[in-house]
Symmetry: C2
Subunit: 403 residues, 2 copies
Amino acid sequence: MPPFDLAESDPFGPHNLPYGVFSLPGSVERSVGVRLGDHVLDAGAAARALGSPHAGLLAAPTLGPLLAAGRTVWTQVRRELREWVTSPSHRATVEPLFRPLSAVTLHLPFEVADYVDFYSSEHHARNVGAIFRPDTADTLLPNWKHLPIGYHGRSGTVVVSGTDVVRPSGQRKAPSDPAPVFGPSVRLDIEAEVGFVVGVPSRQGSPVAMSDFREHVFGLCLLNDWSARDLQAWEYVPLGPFLAKSFATSVSAWITPLEALDDARVAPPARTHALLPYLDDASAEPAGYDLRISVAINGHTVSEPPFATMYWTAAQQLAHLTVNGASLRTGDLYGSGTVSGPEPDQRGSLLELTWNGRDPLELPDGKRTFLEDGDVVTLSAWAPGPDGVPVGLGEVSGRVIAG
Amino acid sequence: MPPFDLAESDPFGPHNLPYGVFSLPGSVERSVGVRLGDHVLDAGAAARALGSPHAGLLAAPTLGPLLAAGRTVWTQVRRELREWVTSPSHRATVEPLFRPLSAVTLHLPFEVADYVDFYSSEHHARNVGAIFRPDTADTLLPNWKHLPIGYHGRSGTVVVSGTDVVRPSGQRKAPSDPAPVFGPSVRLDIEAEVGFVVGVPSRQGSPVAMSDFREHVFGLCLLNDWSARDLQAWEYVPLGPFLAKSFATSVSAWITPLEALDDARVAPPARTHALLPYLDDASAEPAGYDLRISVAINGHTVSEPPFATMYWTAAQQLAHLTVNGASLRTGDLYGSGTVSGPEPDQRGSLLELTWNGRDPLELPDGKRTFLEDGDVVTLSAWAPGPDGVPVGLGEVSGRVIAG
């Protein structure tokens, strides 16, 4: 059977073991699944069959109970899973509990509590500054190097990969228009991001230090922060993006545990400004992640944003978002912000890739400035793993349909 | 017994019947309660005792099931409750199910799904513009009269009245400072608002029209959007308020059903700009509410903001927040934005009341520009009801404690 006889180079081998939630055709029952190659292990059934003390956490319709259980349990469960899928003595028990990926439906794997989106790529922030404020000397705003800028988004419209995205309607107004007009967005864009999933809650009034990042954050996923640039330009002053973002945010179906990414940890870029103590990571463990993202439109790769270039790390983002005493809940999700590298073909949004529509992309099926109805956008990624074997992060995909 | 022998002028008489969630001393069990005078009826117990078909909805630890049930059921349950607390034939059954308010603990009555905050008082927006942009000719930004400006806040830090609020720490930077400094906010403020509670969900991709407001929104509460002005000034460009607001938002324990406020419906202010069709309420039923709010610091009234002066109505806010296809969930909460009237003693924030600290308030216990540790802020309100009897909206109160 394939799950036990995987190629050693398979990016979804026993070194990876991401978590998701699946159902079988004709059933409404949802189960926690663990991906191995192109198969899904029914983790709750395996835990029960093998008498695991964690069967209660895994035999659930969402990842919620596992997320809430904390780092010690996360490590124990991961160790058990690894044994189940590698030890010949368990093979006869476990093998019947695998399903081909092609035979299951994948669901949003946890209930999103609060959703926050950051803005932590310096290249992205500078590109946006150069596009929208071409006459200013510094393309970065004064606060950008002092804190990870972020805002809250709509958690109720986070959807799993594969969900169609309806083109949003709303108000837009070009500077030359006498009044705003209403209609479907004509500048629908993507933002290639990584999402971090909080497991362990924190108490209101008690900040979470950078050093406690791994005690609270379970893992990460890919995230597409769909954005209607025309709606955003008209609405965002002074309280930030609202309808331009709230219609949909897509996440990958697989949550990769941080422990699968230990070989991908890298130091973030050198800091050019002194940081306040709660954000100062000069003497901390490397908290960046070397994730290699690809952005494809209709199967054609248009960009390869390198996550290692992000200025602010997920540990800094967590420390910042709680430093005012804001509490964490199981299921909180925070996005990194658009990932853009220094090169033109490493930009994580069409806004940047086409320089606000000035330089259309040439795709096999025609030119693109922003997205057209029917376009399928797919973000995928991998990270360096042990012994040179990549860790697959799966993909987040969505098709634009007319509003 | 008091609940049955209330004065006819009691603002919490049978014409009101707001919903909350309470527990008894020494018990963790939460129950849906309905307020009558200074007492709480155990609504689930009453429903069971009287064989109501809605006992399942009311015998719950939150208002969630009732909120999700929809307008027809809301009307039926309200009619039943009214009969139970007024008909002499039910008195012997119902009277033992009342508890004095002073003997119960009130809880956050529903799980907040997404929290959105608007900015819909023209007087507030003009005051803010005049304070922060004194040199501009128009104190309103160009988009303000075309759409209800709003943003998403943190739903996980919404707390019930009576919860202490820890003064948040964070970064601030005066224009003259060479770099940001970190510490407890020195400009902690309030925003007097009204919160609207969504009951019936909507489907992603399907906007909700203004005319469907009462099919989706169950009722309203009082809301204090605590704000750290110094954190806000430094962080909010370009993505809006984040840590300045996310540490705490307080709501009243009682949710007043819209049906209790039919006598308070008023037309909103005259529209000075043509509105796009999805927001045009020229021929709609009056969708404003004549709610009279009081703001008190340590028991001393400092302002009386009139909700009837709000430019954008809750129906317009709902239509706007879904016009891009964003879905609604049971438990979504949206705030009106700071309520400020045209007069200086009708302003809903200390920012405005002290004109950014220039004109301190004289309180019996000393001057105030912004809040001091130990200050207790209480918003209370009432609305015109049937036969000239006011509808009490209760209060939302919170004490500032040192961070």
